[in-house]
Symmetry: C2
Subunit: 188 residues, 2 copies
Amino acid sequence: MEDFIEYILQFGSLNKQQIDFIKAQTTVLELQKDAYFSEAGKVPKQVGFVVEGVIRGCYYNNKGEEITRCFISENSLVVDYFNFENSTASSEYLQAGTDCRLIVFSKQNWEDLSETIVGWDTIKNKMVQKCLFQKSRKGPVISQDATTRYLEFMANYPSLINRIPLAYIASYLGVTQQSLSRIRKNIR
Amino acid sequence: MEDFIEYILQFGSLNKQQIDFIKAQTTVLELQKDAYFSEAGKVPKQVGFVVEGVIRGCYYNNKGEEITRCFISENSLVVDYFNFENSTASSEYLQAGTDCRLIVFSKQNWEDLSETIVGWDTIKNKMVQKCLFQKSRKGPVISQDATTRYLEFMANYPSLINRIPLAYIASYLGVTQQSLSRIRKNIR
DNA sequence: ATCATTTTTTACCAAATGGTAAACCATTTC
DNA sequence: GAAATGGTTTACCATTTGGTAAAAAATGAT
């Protein structure tokens, strides 16, 4: 929980009373590996903060292939914010890649923050925009070959390689599992 | 200009007086093909709205290769918002892919909107977040082969193929110009 | 420990893509 | 009109990646 408060305070100042109010709006959510935080076709109902574990964002293309679009590890917000705000159905899944512990806000509680804490909206928007901005830049670069993408993935997410199935990493990097395996062999 | 007002009104309501105030904060900027709207290493100073033309976002990797990260065509916001807000240097270029006409706000004028128009911040944030969200999803899918990426590009940006150099499209799709040319031949 | 299941690696060949070089085409400039 | 320039296509071959199948290794359950 303290990590979460620290995370928020990056984006603005809050007094003790305000912090206590925020804490009071949260609940803890434990997700087992493979459980969904939110699902395609459903309206996302919660904003989460990853305390422990890794969440991945994924969807299925028209051939039924699973595509991993992002990984969200400790000390990050996890939410399909656009659809959460607009109460529209998401097109992708947010799934626990490992067992996870999250701090979550219901939509009601999240909105109560805006009405109760002066300046919360400013903090909130900075937080959400930084999230979206990072997501838009941190992914694998399509013009690089698969080996380079894998090496950069390891540099960006050093803690993930031994925690999540290689199939997820392969689908994130846009290669088959077999190709990724070959790449790993050639690197050693 | 009317297109811009219409664009804004998607995200909230404004009365005539407020709309006039917004208009008064804008200037028109004409950019010739290849001119920069903002540059890597510099702090972005303006928010723009594309009235006519196509802007592309691009950067250079450590091999000096140019990589196109996005295209922004008519009736869209164009701004490196994260760095604009934080007054930090951008890492990429926003460059005119064709001759362009933009409506622009200086940073001062953009901020004046927040102080003058009640509810502007809500509209602004919805606008910016939708921008970032779309950018994070509309790009080529790394797990698809080059032909599929090209076909989807044409479906997503039908108006661009005959307006901008193919080299830009190739670097956006993550293939060489020669490969793109071969792909185009095989499709006919 | 054994079996069943899942995950990861390997092998083989076909297909796609990159790199280099040259040709081709359209537009501008003199 | 000729020359120069920039953009696009073609051709060739080397390299990378995908698809299919099977083996090996790791994990979990009985």
